[in-house]
Point group: C2
Chain length 154, copies 2
Amino acid sequence: MKWDTLADEPCSVARTVSVIGDRWTLLILRDCFLRVRRFEAFQTGLGITRHLLAHRLKKLVAAGVLRKIAYQQRPARYEYVLTDRGLDLHPIVMGIVHWGDIHMAGDSGRPRLHRHKGCGGLFDPVMVCSACGEAVTARDVTVEPGPGALGALV
Amino acid sequence: MKWDTLADEPCSVARTVSVIGDRWTLLILRDCFLRVRRFEAFQTGLGITRHLLAHRLKKLVAAGVLRKIAYQQRPARYEYVLTDRGLDLHPIVMGIVHWGDIHMAGDSGRPRLHRHKGCGGLFDPVMVCSACGEAVTARDVTVEPGPGALGALV
DNA sequence: ATCAATCAGTTCTTTTTTAGAACTGTCAAC
DNA sequence: GTTGACAGTTCTAAAAAAGAACTGATTGAT
């Protein structure tokens, strides 16, 4: 399988992975949600090579996840900010954070805490069913082919 | 930055990404949640090279996400199944699916549907606040250092 | 008894990607 | 007019992945 064909698979996981399924991309997105916006800030914060950072940012812009906003002219300089499409990745990033908090935090505890502006409390993300509102775990879910399925389920 | 140092960063995203932040690994996990268990099934379904599949499975077992269960002796043959730790990745995978459903499904619609056994309905995953139960979006969240933070926030 | 098939890998070479460092160009401030 | 900030680009070397063939244990068919 070639990576450029991944986006064409009849699978939402494969399609999403074709956009964000790369280690540096996920770390860049983490920084985006932490309000990092500029090339130098990404580069020094992450330790990514400048070459790769330029490449990844370009890809995220092309995918509609980030957009460039000029913050000065002469020389033209841009900030990279999340689009609505990019903001929709928040549950994925929060899910990643939460798994790390639960399974990878050492004795010193979790590195970051999240506060919900709505209620003012510290919180963990909980996944619930859009139909009934109850919390959902892996064992509560069955999968069936949808209209966009082309063939076998797997 | 070397990838083996990623797990030691004071960041739950980096730590989780050190386990699952790779395209093939995410696709393998998708198949795990779809009840794929055997080497040949992963390999033919994904089109991954056998070399890489063996490597990724070994890594996931070492990380405690999958475990090997013998389904026959002579020759010894194993199935790879999700541990509890692996099942906890479900919200991440569902988040990935949901983003693809919303942003990458074409006119033919989403490739797969999910049914909640609890209520019997088709559903989308919704992320809510563990403190108040309300739905949470990116704009509703602020981040602060936790006990495991070693230094700067970003 | 022999042959083909199944399954889970391993081993090789070639190609692609990433790391790491240095370089370019535009401007502002000193 | 020199230095420094910023946002890249361009190299080469090292690492990872692709692609294909091979191993080895066993079962079932001929």
